[in-house]
Structures are given as C-alpha cells and as structure tokens.
Symmetry: C2
Subunit: 246 residues, 2 copies
DNA sequence: GCAAAAGTGTTCCGACTACACCCATGC
DNA sequence: GCATGGGTGTAGTCGGAACACTTTTGC
C-alpha cells in the first residue's frame, strides 16, 4: 500500500485521517414485462438522513473484503442468484458525511461504490417489515441521501457502457432466451437509439457467441421464436477484444 | 454514505473495521526521444517492504481529499505542470498490507489508486538524496511491494483505453505539436497495432479538433511539418460522444 | 540529385443502415 | 383470412486498410 511522505526524521505534518469505509451499491434490474430499468432504493432508518431514500449500503466489518461487503448488502436486501457486480468509484472527500462533524476526533466516512445488474424475475425483495425497500424506475427516483444521486448517475453511465461492450446481459437473462428478449433488454437500458431489430439480429449472431438451441417458444400470436443460449466457450477467445454488442 | 445492516435493536454483528486509507499512483510518462513508456517508481525507506520498489503513495491526512492526496504525492516526487489524473480502483481486501497483522486491534489498510499521465519533457524528478526515485520503462519494472504490480497492470490497461477514447494525449503534448509527435505518442503507448501514419493523419484531422497553426517546424532532413494545436472549443460538443482517436 | 520526412489520393472491402419481403403461428 | 411477431435478404453508403504517389526540405 502506501507510505508517508519522505521527510526524514520527525513527522510534523498534519496527522493521518481515520476512516470508516462504507460500501454503497447501485443495483439495477430490468423489468422486461414493462420494459423499465429499475434501481433498488432503501429508506434510511437511522440518522443521518433518517426517513430519506438512499442506495443500499453498509459499513465494512472486520475481516470483510470490499466486494464481500457489497455481496452482503445485496443478499440482505434481495434474494437473487444471477447477477453482475463490479466496483464503481470511491468517494472520499472530507465532509461528505454529516457524521464527520459530530465526532470529536475527525473520523472520515468514505464510500466505495459498486454497481450491480441482477436478474429481475428471480429477485425477491426481503422486506423486514420495518425498512422501506423498493425498485424505482430510473427517472422517478426521489431525492437521495448523501451524495447518492451522484453515485447513481455514475453507475448508470457505467451500466450503459458495460452493456454495450461486455456480455453482462447474459448474466441477467435466463439460460435460454429469444433474440427479442435480448433486444428488449438493450433498448430499455440504452434507449432505442441504435440499430433496428433486424440489424441487431444479424450483427449479434455474426459474433458467433450465441448458439441456437433449436427449441421454439411461442408468446401469444406470431411465429414462435428460437431460444438461444450464450456460448461461453465461443466467447472466451474474444474476451478483452473490443466488441460491440449494440 | 452507508448505514449498518437492518437488524433492529442490538447490533451483535461483528464490529466495524477501522481503516487507514492510502493513495497510490501509477504515474506514466512518454519519453518521445526514445519512444518509451515510463512509469515512476520509488524505493521504499520504511517497513514494510523497505528497500523495495513501489508505486509512489501516501496515507491520507486529516482534511485532505483523495484526489488532493494524489496531487500531493505527485508534487512531492516530480515538478510538472501538465498532466492528466484520474482515479483507478480501490483495493481493500483484508491482509493486503502486512501492517495489519502487527497492530493489535485490526486496523485495515486500503489503497485508492490513481493513474496519471504527465508531460515528460517538463517532469523534473525531485531527488531528496535519500530516496530512490526513477522512471522505469514498462517491461523492465522490477518486482514491486504490496500488490502494486496488480495496480500497475490495471493502470496500464486504463491508460491504453483512455488514450484511445479520450483526448488525454493533448494534456501531455506541448501546446503545439506535429501530427507525427501525436502518432509517436500513440504508437509507444498502444504498440503499432493500428493504422499506419497516413491513415492516422486523415482520421484524426477529420475529427476537426486540431487546428493547423500554419507554423512549420523542421527536424533535420525532410519536409517541415505543420504544427497543430488542440482545439478545445471544437472538441467540447464531442465530449461524452464515443470517439476513437486510434 | 538523392535521401528523408510530410502530406495527398486511390482502390478495395467489410460493416452498418434502411428497408422490403417471406414465414409460422393464434384466432 | 388476417393480424402478429419471427426471421431473411438486398441495395446503398460510409469508413477503415493498404499502399502508391507527390511535395518539400537537408546535404
């Protein structure tokens, strides 16, 4: 890690800060029935910002890794098997948390943020009867505690980037899915500012990372659609290569 | 920031971790005379890892922001005016720093890493006579203290990405530069796995963000080259748009 | 003149766009 | 049949890759 600055003998510089480290997560999900992009918010119970909505978060415990901490919050709020999780950014300026003022000796509160995309269908919210917890459609998000709006914005940008250039969509789609399912996922997250369905089809198939299971599925009227499966082996050699999914 | 998990009254969960927060920086520079990509390393003076090379870093002081801390280390090591700096990633697993074991009560050491690209010509190393400090060509980097090799790898990846998709090259080139200067910068960082000079020229000029000053410069034999200047106004509307510089 | 470096132009080809069109199902 | 959604094909266009060629300097 780090060392002090290199003044030789007596260190008469200002003292080191002491930190509590929090992990806050921007947890996204796509409701494919209503084509809405959702973010998970929780109502704060304690000061500061008691009664306001915020991103789910926690303070890091002894012996716990940052990512482990992120997974813990996630599992405390929702039951979900399939997800993508990655670190976002660390916010750590002084005075970003009102609790810093209260404490006599200057403890700082730092937030390592994560962003997650979870499979909506299986994501079951864990209501403990006391806490408010809810999926909010992006665009209907209320004002948030701390600097959480900033974190959310940052997470949304990252989500769109990841979706375009990484196969995270397949972490959140069911094992087998139609190409239309995939297309809908992309449009709800990215907006429909890209290729029409027909061109999307051909391009994504040309990548060669989807395998047709041959199984057909019928959703009401219309011709039944083929179910596809993400082919991890075929994708492996393409990893780290610049790929555009949308 | 964050709250605890939502158990109601008594918190009998494992206690919170206490953190020292360090900032470690991957500072790159391009020696355009020798076409080498360099990274700044310092020799550690104190335990742990005393006598080993490491990334320049420091522990965050009271009242100091993370970015401020990164700038402080930078200014303690080199004198440089023009640079690009951005946060990289936060490494914070338990047991990543040997000092955690020494302390009786489990203080954790967390590293928020930054990456910087500085203008080589004006970067003057501040030798304090005691500390080793040196530019190492990438590929000749010795084994590093802590998990600094991992941070360096991460920084290198980010550097290449940023160079391809952001105009950070112009933060580090002189005010006026030839297209060949620009091309050399790209090739030394990215390798010459992209367009030849002639295609690079036309593509970068078509972006419309470089303005020809009309001034010619002659470097030995050959036809004199035009000096160009980065046009920040012309670039402004393109910001946030996906742009490929290489 | 000749070598060296800067700068221009041309040809080829693959990829993306915008459609029009065919196919298989429910009712 | 016909509406509905799935799936295929094609013509036009844009942009990058490769490379030949011209221009302007030093010597």
């Amino acid at each position: 890690m780090s060392e002090r600055s290199q003044r030789k003998p007596t260190d008469l510089v200002s003292p080191l800060a002491e930190f509590k480290v929090g992990v806050d997560s921007v947890i996204f999900s796509v409701d494919s029935d209503q084509n809405r992009l959702l973010v998970l918010l929780v109502m704060r119970q304690d000061a500061p910002f008691s009664g306001e909505w915020s991103l789910p978060g926690t303070l890091v415990r002894q012996g716990e890794s940052l990512e482990g901490s992120a997974y813990r919050v996630l599992s405390e709020k929702i039951r979900v098997e399939n997800l993508y999780l990655e670190q976002l950014y660390t916010f750590g300026g002084p005075n970003r948390d009102p609790r810093e003022a209260e404490t006599s000796y200057g403890v700082r509160y730092l937030s390592v943020s994560y962003f997650a995309l979870v499979r909506f269908a299986e994501a079951e919210l864990i209501a403990d009867g006391v806490n408010g917890i809810a999926w909010y459609p992006l665009g209907q998000v209320p004002s948030l505690a701390f600097d959480h709006q900033q974190i959310l914005d940052y997470g949304y940008r990252r989500l769109r980037n990841k979706l375009e250039y990484s196969p995270i969509a397949f972490d959140v789609l069911p094992e087998m899915f139609t190409l239309n399912d995939l297309y809908q996922l992309y449009t709800t997250v990215l907006g429909d500012h890209f290729a029409d369905y027909s061109n999307f089809r051909t391009r994504i198939l040309k990548l060669g990372i989807l395998s047709d299971t041959g199984i057909k599925t019928s959703r009401g009227a219309g011709r039944p659609a083929s179910l596809y499966r993400f082919d991890a082996e075929a994708f492996a050699p393409l990893k780290n290569k610049p790929l555009v999914f949308a």
